[in-house]
């Protein structure tokens, strides 16, 4: 795949020179085109005669994508390094180091685009930037210092890898953690700006003047929900981008050992991507709920207005990610000796995924001609209309998550044979089981109590309608009751039965019972639907956490039924990883458009109006064209950066994992 290392710097310089030349040509052409005198004190300026909004959109999106990679990879690398450190397996450490090599190369590009973004905003939207600066200028200095700290820590972390081994390894691990702390703090500051633009706090309602403190502006209602969503999305993004990097490495590898290395790296990338993807709908729901609470107008516009079609497109992309991720896992079972036992299950999982996605994709309302309405018998299809409602979609997404998790469990136990009795596993396993049980109990009990104590008046419901809160509360209590049952079963070496019980209960309760009950709630006590969705998703989350712990403990030290043959993967598996990468980059672009576009013609929602000529909401077609071009640009840029970074990583050309 890689050209000889000594040739690369020269080619890199060629590329750099060509890039600078191209930039100079563009700037010169722009300067020649801009024959008008500069508009002093203008509220908006054009970008060399072109749309300022488009220019900012492109630069901001590429910066955000690079930022997602630069923030997500250290989280993954740090975890991998800790795993390698604690288990003593060198392959984890090598992988963490290889990822950090990519990170170091991407960091400066991210910074360059960050600078470009600031300059375009100041140049093209001076009034808005002056306003934003008047609120947030105190955070700018902290941002700059944190950026410096992150850069310094990153290079220390990357170049200090060899020096900090042995007894200094703990210090190196601490540097990785510190790197993540700086990165998260940076993200939190930037999130404060954009989330405040959506939900401004500290603004006088009547005069629309900013009267609050900087902290009030920072701690706006969307700050934390957006941060949670972004951290998870960044990790998923980093996982799938790393997966694609590994896929290309695999396809171009000439040696078996290198193929095995990249196969394993691709598996880890896909695992990380899927693991972060699973809780993302929960985080998305939380963010959406808070957006709705901050502004019902914005919330309704998001799911039922101009952006509802963008969410259909989002469902398609998430569908590709889940189905693609599962497909890769299923192909991967072919390289695991003993996994053929579980192959028959896959067709059912596939069926569940496809049916659930069909439900998730079904729009509630589409424009129909009179002829189409007549043949349908009205605006809505008699059956499909129900699939367009939130109750059906909540059930469908819960089923998708549970199915994906089921695939992962099948993969995990592919080569596991006879289990070790739990009593032989030692005190640590017992303690972990007990602690996990407490968490698994606390989640449903906490929310069941909240539902039983919920005041119907707080939802504008009559006292008699409190009866609708009971069923989800009782189902949560039922799930809590299963925790001690499954604990006892595990202690008596009936772990798989315990897992099956928890799984079956969650699927039955969260998907089927509450899925159907959601329609009743929509009809009889609509405001309660949001609480019902939280109950569903807490049940699924509880099931995932508890079942993962059970799986780890139940199969700990189990006999090996067959070897994992790393490197024995067909090319189509690698192309699947590339597909996942392109899809998540496209998804991130789409979600960026939605988050920003929700403000419509407001720079700061309800406070500072966007009166520029570009304050219109683009169509889905326009949006996909722009985002598609950005995605190609970003992937091209990242390929170039990775290629330039390749000489360092090529030293060992990858090795087979143990």
């Amino acid at each position: 795949m890689r050209p000889p290392a000594r040739r690369q710097p020269r080619r890199g310089r060629c590329w750099g020179g060509a890039g600078l030349l191209a930039l100079a040509v563009v700037l010169a052409a722009g300067a020649a085109a801009a024959d008008a005198p500069p508009a002093i004190g203008a509220e908006y300026r054009t970008f060399y005669g072109a749309s300022a909004r488009l220019a900012v959109w492109v630069v901001a999106e590429i910066h955000l994508m690079l930022g997602a990679f630069v923030l997500g990879v250290p989280i993954v690398a740090s975890i991998l390094e800790i795993v390698g450190w604690r288990t003593g397996e060198a392959r984890w450490d090598r992988l963490a180091r290889e990822l950090t090599g990519l990170l170091a190369a991407a960091f400066s590009t991210t910074a360059a685009f960050g600078g470009l973004l600031v300059f375009t905003l100041i140049g093209l939207y001076p009034r808005f930037m002056a306003f934003l600066t008047s609120v947030f200028h105190e955070t700018y200095y902290a941002y700059a210092l944190l950026f410096l700290a992150e850069g310094f820590t990153l290079y220390l972390y990357h170049y200090g890898w060899d020096r900090m081994r042995g007894r200094w390894k703990g210090l190196h691990v601490a540097l990785g953690v510190l790197l993540n702390l700086w990165g998260t703090a940076l993200m939190l500051i930037a999130n404060a700006w954009v989330s405040w633009m959506m939900a401004p706090t500290g603004v006088e309602r009547d005069t629309l003047r900013v009267v609050g403190t900087t902290w009030q502006a920072v701690a706006n209602p969307l700050w934390i929900p957006l941060a949670i969503h972004r951290v998870l999305a960044n990790v998923a993004f980093a996982g799938f981008v790393v997966g694609a990097y590994a896929a290309v490495g695999f396809l171009c590898a000439r040696r078996e050992a290198a193929r095995a290395h990249y196969d394993w790296m691709g598996y880890v990338g896909n695992f990380v991507g899927l693991a972060a993807l699973i809780p993302l709908p929960f985080a998305g729901y939380y963010l959406g709920r808070e957006i709705y609470s901050a502004s019902a107008v914005m919330g309704n516009n998001m799911m039922g207005g101009a952006f509802s079609w963008a969410f259909i497109l989002q469902a398609v992309l998430i569908g590709i990610l889940f189905v693609g991720g599962n497909y890769y896992l299923w192909i991967g079972m072919g390289r695991i000796g003993g996994a053929e036992r579980y192959q028959p299950w896959i067709k059912y999982v596939n069926l569940v995924l496809l049916v659930s996605f069909a439900v998730w994709l079904t729009p509630r309302n589409i424009p129909l001609t009179g002829e189409e309405q007549a043949s349908l018998g009205g605006q809505f299809h008699p059956l499909l209309k129900y699939f367009g409602l939130m109750a059906a979609k909540n059930a469908a997404v819960s089923f998708i998550i549970l199915s994906t998790f089921f695939s992962f469990l099948l993969y995990r136990r592919g080569n596991k044979g006879r289990r070790r009795p739990f009593a032989e596993q030692g005190r640590a396993s017992g303690l972990a089981l007990g602690a996990g049980a407490l968490v698994a109990l606390a989640i449903p009990l906490w929310y069941a109590r909240a539902l039983l104590m919920l005041d119907p008046a707080s939802l504008d419901l009559a006292a008699a309608q409190a009866g609708y809160f009971r069923l989800p509360a009782y189902l949560l209590l039922g799930q809590a009751a299963l925790v001690p049952v499954s604990l006892v079963l595990t202690l008596r070496d009936r772990g798989p039965l315990a897992q099956g019980l928890v799984f079956a209960w969650t699927t039955l309760a969260a998907v089927f019972v509450l899925g159907v009950y959601g329609f009743v709630v929509m009809e009889k006590a609509n405001p309660f639907l949001r609480h019902l969705a939280v109950a569903q998703w807490l049940m699924v989350l509880g099931c995932l956490l508890w079942n993962t712990l059970l799986d780890v403990l139940v199969f700990r030290g189990a006999a090996v039924a067959g070897a994992i043959r790393w490197g024995r993967m067909p090319a189509r598996a690698q192309y699947t990883l590339v597909l996942l990468c392109v899809t998540i980059v496209m998804l991130m672009g789409l979600m960026g458009f939605i988050r920003s576009g929700l403000r419509e013609d407001w720079h700061v929602y309800g406070v500072l109006q966007d009166t520029s000529p570009w304050a219109w909401t683009p169509t889905t077609a326009y949006m996909t064209r722009v985002v598609g071009a950005i995605v190609l640009g970003f992937l091209g840029l990242v390929s170039l950066v990775f290629w330039l970074a390749a000489p360092r990583a090529a030293d060992d050309d990858g090795e087979a994992p143990a």
């Binding site: 107008v297 516009n301 207005g305 589409i366 609509n526 013609d601 077609a621």
Partner: protein, 330 residues
């Protein structure tokens, strides 16, 4: 190796193109327009049609309310015949007004109920729905009083009879509207006067003002001369004259309709008139001569000959360029 790299590149481009094609399909199927302005503009006329535009556009009412088979929102009551009480809102408002009379002990009309529903939505919440409707006068919706009135007329028309005269908005609202109107107008885009001059005199361009208006020695004579217009009129008046030319028609430039004996309709400004013939300039600046003996009927018109669609055919930048040029004519 090269084959695989090409394969990866081809797959990447194919995926992006497929998603872009899906976006194109969505736009075509969903009926999204080209550039959708975030705010619908109405001419300050309280008609059901104007209200309908508000309901399904700027007012964002349709994100929560369906109207029978139109729209799919379920968060708020359906305003069509499939809504609460099995009646459309135009009829249902009568029953609600009776409820409000009983609850408050004072007389309520259906129009009063609709006004209250829009301006104080929390005062009465339909059973089964949450008190979450925002005040449409406040940002980010920020309807003008005329737009509120139009929306109410539209709701009246759903099963009932539109009656703008019955709508009594709170007195403070009218004062608020007057205050807003009195604010000094200012352009929000810095126009380029040089470009504006080119647009002004480009006879084949979208503006083409010079076809009818003279500035100094250049331009036509159909409309008023504009050589010193910015010295005699303020910016707001000039903007209105461009976008709504019929609002105030300059004296001597009124439009007439001439119907000839052979059923020809000639509309324009009378430029010359003699005992034998009338010369009329049309909206494109062309002169048409009609013999007096051929005139069957002649009627003054309230609509200006100047095209009233500059708000649509000019881009925002072009409009501001032309405006910058005109505002420099002192």
């Amino acid at each position: 190796m090269r084959r695989h790299l090409l394969g990866v590149a081809a797959l990447t481009v194919a995926v992006v193109l497929a998603i872009a094609a899906l976006g194109e399909l969505i736009t075509r199927v969903s009926g999204e327009g080209g550039e959708r302005p975030a705010a619908a503009v109405i001419a300050g006329v309280a008609t059901p049609e104007a209200g309908e535009a508000i309901f399904w556009g700027k007012g964002k009412c349709s994100t929560c309310h369906a109207v029978g088979g139109r729209g799919g929102a379920v968060r708020g009551p359906d305003q069509g015949a499939t809504g609460p009480l099995g009646q459309p809102i135009g009829l249902r408002a009568e029953a609600r007004a009776r409820e409000r009379s009983r609850a408050t002990g004072r007389p309520w009309t259906a129009a009063d109920y609709l006004v209250e529903s829009l301006l104080d939505p929390g005062a009465y919440v339909v059973a089964g729905y949450k008190n979450e409707m925002p005040n449409p006068l406040r940002p980010p919706i920020r309807l003008a009083p005329d737009e509120v009135r139009a929306a109410i007329v539209y709701l009246q028309s759903l099963g009932g009879t539109p009656d703008p005269a019955a709508i009594a908005l709170p007195p403070g609202l009218a004062a608020q509207a007057r205050a807003a109107a009195a604010e000094e107008w200012r352009a929000y885009v810095a126009g380029d006067a040089k470009k504006g001059e080119r647009l002004f005199f480009d006879a084949d361009g979208s503006a083409g003002c010079g076809r009818c208006h003279r500035v100094g020695a250049r331009g036509g004579d159909v409309g008023p001369e504009l050589t010193h217009i910015a010295g005699t009129r303020d910016a707001r008046f000039i903007v209105e004259s461009i976008l709504e030319p019929s609002k105030v028609i300059a004296s001597g430039y009124e439009t007439v309709l001439i119907v000839t004996k052979d059923e020809r309709h000639v509309t324009g400004i009378v430029r010359r008139e003699s005992a034998a013939a009338v010369e009329v300039a049309d909206s494109q600046g062309r002169i048409q001569r009609v013999a007096t003996r051929d005139v069957r009927r002649r009627a003054p018109q309230a609509i200006s000959t100047m095209p009233g669609n500059f708000g649509e055919i000019l881009t925002v930048e072009e409009f501001h360029d032309v405006l910058a040029y005109v505002l420099a004519l002192r």
